[in-house]
C-alpha cells in the first residue's frame, strides 16, 4: 500500500434517501491510490446505494464526495465517469443483444479510439474467454463470462478507479476465484485502485487491503482485510458457512 498524500476517493458524511426512507446514514470512507478497498454487508445494508451515490444517481441529501480532489457530489453521472471512474454495475448489466466486441466498444466510448486495439488486446489477455467469443451476442454468454465482460467493459474506459458491485453474484465458486484473482493482478501489475462491494465476505476481505463493514446504512467496522477476517463479529455475521 502506498501512503498517498490525499485519498483518490473520499466519501464524507454522505446521507442518501429514497423518498423518505434512509439508505445511508452518514457514511465516511476513503480509498487511496493503488488500494483495493472492500465494503461488505448483508442484503439491504446500503452497499449498492453507496456505490450508486458515488456515481451520482441517486444524489446524496447531505455530505460530500471527493474524487482526486474534485467535488463530484453534484455532478451528473456521465461527467463523473469521464473523470476516470468506471463501474461494473450490480447484476452485470451488459448489453445482451450486442456482441461482446460492441459491448467493449461501448466501454471505450470515452477513450481515444486509437487506443482501442491495444486495450482490446489487454482485456483479452486478462479474460481469454472473451477473446473467443468476441462476435457472440452478450446475452448468450454464461454468467461468469458476462461478469468478465462487465469488468472488461469497465476496463476499456482506462479508469483510475474501478468500482465493482458484487462481481461474485450468482457465480460458481471457481469462477469467483478466477475473477478475484484477475482483480488482484490488475491491482498488483497496473496499480489500479479498486473499490469492491461484496456479500462474499471471505473472498473480498482476503483480497482487499482494507475493508469496511456496513450495517443498516452505517459503517460499523473498518480495518485491514486480515484484521476484519479475524474479528468475531465479522466471522459470526458474514463468514460462518459462507466459506468456500
Amino acid at each position: 500500500m502506498r501512503a498517498a498524500a490525499e485519498p483518490l476517493l473520499s466519501v464524507r458524511g454522505v446521507e442518501t434517501y429514497y423518498g423518505n426512507i434512509v439508505a445511508l446514514r452518514g457514511v465516511d470512507l476513503e480509498v487511496s491510490r493503488g488500494e483495493i478497498v472492500t465494503m461488505i454487508g448483508a442484503n439491504g445494508a446500503g452497499k449498492s446505494t453507496l456505490m450508486m451515490t458515488i456515481c451520482g444517481d441517486p444524489k446524496p441529501r447531505s455530505g460530500q464526495i471527493l474524487y482526486d480532489g474534485t467535488d463530484i457530489t453534484a455532478m451528473p453521472t456521465h461527467e463523473i465517469m469521464q473523470l476516470g471512474i468506471a463501474q461494473s454495475p450490480e447484476g452485470r448489466r451488459i448489453f445482451p443483444r450486442m456482441t461482446v466486441m460492441e459491448n467493449l466498444q461501448m466501454g471505450a466510448s470515452l477513450v481515444d479510439p486509437n487506443h482501442f486495439e491495444d486495450d482490446l488486446k489487454r482485456v483479452s489477455e486478462l479474460f481469454p474467454r472473451l477473446k473467443e467469443r468476441l462476435h457472440q451476442r452478450g446475452g448468450t454468454l454464461s454468467g461468469g463470462e458476462q461478469q468478465m465482460l462487465a469488468i472488461a467493459r469497465a476496463l476499456m474506459g482506462r479508469p483510475k478507479l474501478l468500482l465493482l458491485d458484487e462481481p461474485s453474484l450468482g457465480l460458481a465458486p471457481l469462477i469467483v476465484k478466477q475473477i478475484f484473482e484477475t482483480i488482484r493482478e490488475l491491482n498488483e501489475n497496473e496499480g489500479l485502485t479498486v473499490f469492491l462491494v461484496e456479500q462474499n465476505a471471505f473472498h473480498a476481505l482476503k483480497l482487499a487491503h482494507r475493508g469496511y463493514v456496513m450495517v443498516n446504512g452505517n459503517i460499523t467496522m473498518s480495518g485491514t482485510g486480515a484484521e476484519l477476517l479475524k474479528r468475531e463479529e465479522v466471522r459470526a455475521a458474514y463468514l460462518e458457512g459462507g466459506r468456500h
Binding site: T77, H78, F95, M98, M106, K131, R153
Partner: protein
C-alpha cells in the same frame, strides 16, 4: 473465421432444439393405429363444437341484418352468409386441429424453424436479395409501365405510397428500433413536415426543394421539443406521452384556423420541379424540354424517384450512424440505460439526437406527402397513421432495415390487394367491402407474427463491429472453445 462458425453453430442449434421438443409439446405420444383414429374423431368433435358456437354467435351478427326501411327498420335474413361462415369455422378448426393443435408434429414448428433459419444460415443470399431488391426498386416504374400499361398510374402511385411508408418506417426505426424509445406519436413529425412545406409555399412561395430541408429541420426541432419532457420516461409512460404529443399537434393544426386553415386543409401545394422544369403541358415543361410527348405519368415517375432517393438516404444515414459511436450508444441505450450512464454516456443527448434524427426523416417524408397530394388536412395525420408505421417497424423486426421493407410491402400493398377481392361480395352480400376489415386483418397478422416470430419478420441483427484481424483469433480460439 472461427468465431463466425461458432455463431452459426449456436444459431443452428435452436431450430434443432425446437424439433426435439416436439413430442413433448403435443399430447402424450400415442400408438399410431387407434390413437390416430381417436385423434381424428376428437378433432371432428372439436370442430363441430366450434362450428356450433360460431352458428349461435353468428345468428344475430351475420345471419340477420337490419336495414332502414320506409316504415322504420327492416330485418333481412342472410342465411347463405351465415352458413358459409359456419362452414369456414368448421373447416378452419378441423384443419388447425389436424395439423397444429392435435398433430403429432405440428407443421407450424417446422415452418417457424425454416423461416428463422433463412436469414441466419444464408447471409450471402440475404445480401444478394437486398441488392436484387434495390435494382428492382430502381427499375420499378419502367417495369410497371411495360408489364401493366393499363394500370401503370395506379401501380406507380401504390409504389410511391409503399415507398413513403418504408421511409417513415426507417425513420421511426431509429427511435423505436435502435434507441428503444417507444414512440406512438411519430405522425406528429410527418404532420410538421407536411404543414411546414404547405405553409411555407402558401405564405412565402417556397418550392419543394427549398422547403424540404427546412421541413426536416423544423421536424427535428419538434423532435427535441418532444424529447425534453420525456427524457426520464421509458416504456409505457413514454408511449402515452408521445401518443398525447401526436394528438396535440393534430388538434392544434385542426383548431388554429387563421394560420392552418383548420379542417379545410391547405390546397394548391406546388408540385416538385426538376431543376426548375415543371411537369406540365406548357412550352417550358419537362416534356417539351426533353422533346418528349407530354404524359401525366412523367410526374408520377419523378415523384417515385424522389421518394426512393429520400428513402435510400434515410437508409444509408441510418446504417452509417449505427456504425458510429452515436448509433452504438442508441443501441446500448435500448439494451440498458443504467449501464450506459455508468459508461459515461450522456443519455440525455443520446435520446435527444435519436428523437431529432428520427423526426427529421419523418419531416422529409411529410413534405413529400404534401407535394404528392397537393392538398393536406389534419385528417391525414391521425393516430392510425402512427399505429400503422409502428406496426410496420414491429412486424418487420425492431431495428431491421430490410424487415421494414418487407412489412411495408405486405401491409400497404396488402390493403390495396384487399380492394381486388371482389368475389367475396358474392358470398357476403353486395355491401361487403374487404377494405373495411383491414384493421381486423392487421390485428390477426400481428398476433400470428408475434406468436411465431416474436421479434418480427427479420429478427437477426447485424453486428456493427468486427475485428479486422480475424486470422489471429482463428485456430487457438477454436481449441480453447471446445473445452467448455
Amino acid at each position: 473465421m472461427a468465431s463466425s462458425t461458432t455463431g452459426v453453430k449456436v444459431s443452428g442449434k435452436k431450430p434443432a432444439g425446437d424439433q426435439a421438443e416436439t413430442p413433448s409439446r403435443g399430447h402424450a405420444p400415442s400408438p399410431a393405429g387407434p390413437g390416430g383414429g381417436s385423434r381424428f374423431q376428437g378433432s371432428l368433435r372439436d370442430a363441430a363444437t366450434a362450428a356450433f358456437v360460431a352458428g349461435v354467435l353468428g345468428f344475430f351478427f351475420i345471419g340477420l341484418r337490419t336495414d332502414i326501411a320506409p316504415g322504420g327498420l327492416d330485418i333481412k335474413a342472410r342465411w347463405t352468409a351465415w352458413i358459409v361462415s359456419i362452414l369456414v369455422v368448421f373447416a378452419g378448426r378441423l384443419a388447425l386441429n389436424l395439423f397444429v393443435f392435435k398433430a403429432e408434429r405440428p407443421v407450424t414448428l417446422g415452418l417457424a424453424a425454416q423461416l428463422s433459419g433463412v436469414g441466419e444460415t444464408l447471409p450471402g443470399l440475404s445480401k444478394w436479395l437486398v441488392r436484387l431488391l434495390l435494382v428492382f426498386a430502381l427499375v420499378l416504374p419502367f417495369f410497371l409501365m411495360t408489364v401493366f400499361p393499363s394500370k401503370q398510374r395506379q401501380f406507380i402511385d401504390l409504389a410511391i405510397l409503399i415507398m413513403t411508408y418504408i421511409m417513415l418506417g426507417w425513420g421511426l426505426n431509429i427511435v423505436v428500433g435502435l434507441a428503444g424509445l417507444l414512440d406512438l406519436g411519430y405522425v406528429a413529425f410527418y404532420a410538421v413536415g407536411a404543414y411546414s412545406f404547405a405553409l411555407l409555399s402558401q405564405y412565402f412561395d417556397f418550392g419543394f426543394w427549398m422547403a424540404l430541408p427546412l421541413a426536416g429541420l423544423l421536424a427535428a426541432f419538434w423532435g427535441v421539443i418532444l424529447g425534453f419532457p420525456v427524457l426520464r420516461l421509458r416504456g409505457d409512460y413514454l408511449a402515452i406521452v408521445t401518443l398525447a404529443f401526436g394528438e396535440i399537434i393534430r388538434i392544434v393544426l385542426l383548431n388554429w384556423y387563421q394560420f392552418t386553415n383548420g379542417p379545410d386543409g391547405i390546397s394548391g401545394i406546388p408540385k416538385p420541379t426538376l431543376f426548375g422544369l415543371e411537369f406540365s403541358r406548357s412550352e417550358d415543361g419537362f416534356a417539351a424540354f426533353f422533346g418528349l410527348e407530354y404524359a401525366p405519368i412523367h410526374r408520377f415517375i419523378y415523384l417515385y424517384y424522389i421518394i426512393l432517393a429520400l428513402a435510400l438516404i434515410t437508409n444509408v444515414v441510418t446504417i452509417r450512424l449505427r456504425r458510429l459511436p452515436i448509433g452504438r450508444a442508441w443501441e446500448a441505450l435500448r439494451e440498458d440505460e443504467i449501464a450506459c450512464r455508468s459508461l459515461g454516456i450522456n443519455t440525455r443527448n443520446t435520446k435527444l439526437t435519436a428523437f431529432a434524427i428520427g423526426a427529421m426523416f419523418g419531416g422529409f417524408a411529410g413534405s413529400f406527402f404534401a407535394t404528392r397530394q397537393g392538398f393536406i388536412s389534419p385528417e391525414s395525420f391521425s393516430f392510425i397513421e402512427s399505429a400503422m408505421i409502428l406496426a410496420i417497424v414491429v412486424l418487420g423486426g425492431l431495428g431491421s432495415q430490410i424487415g421494414v421493407v418487407v412489412a411495408s410491402v405486405a401491409m400497404i400493398g396488402g390493403i390495396e390487394m384487399l380492394r381486388n377481392l371482389g368475389f367475396l361480395t358474392q358470398i357476403f352480400g353486395s355491401g361487403f367491402d374487404p377494405v373495411q376489415y383491414r384493421m381486423l386483418i392487421f390485428g390477426l397478422a400481428m398476433v400470428l407474427i408475434m406468436v411465431w416470430k416474436p421479434r418480427g419478420l427479420v429478427s437477426t441483427r447485424e453486428p456493427t463491429a468486427v475485428l479486422k484481424e480475424k486470422k489471429r483469433i482463428g485456430a487457438e480460439a477454436v481449441a480453447q472453445g471446445e473445452g467448455h
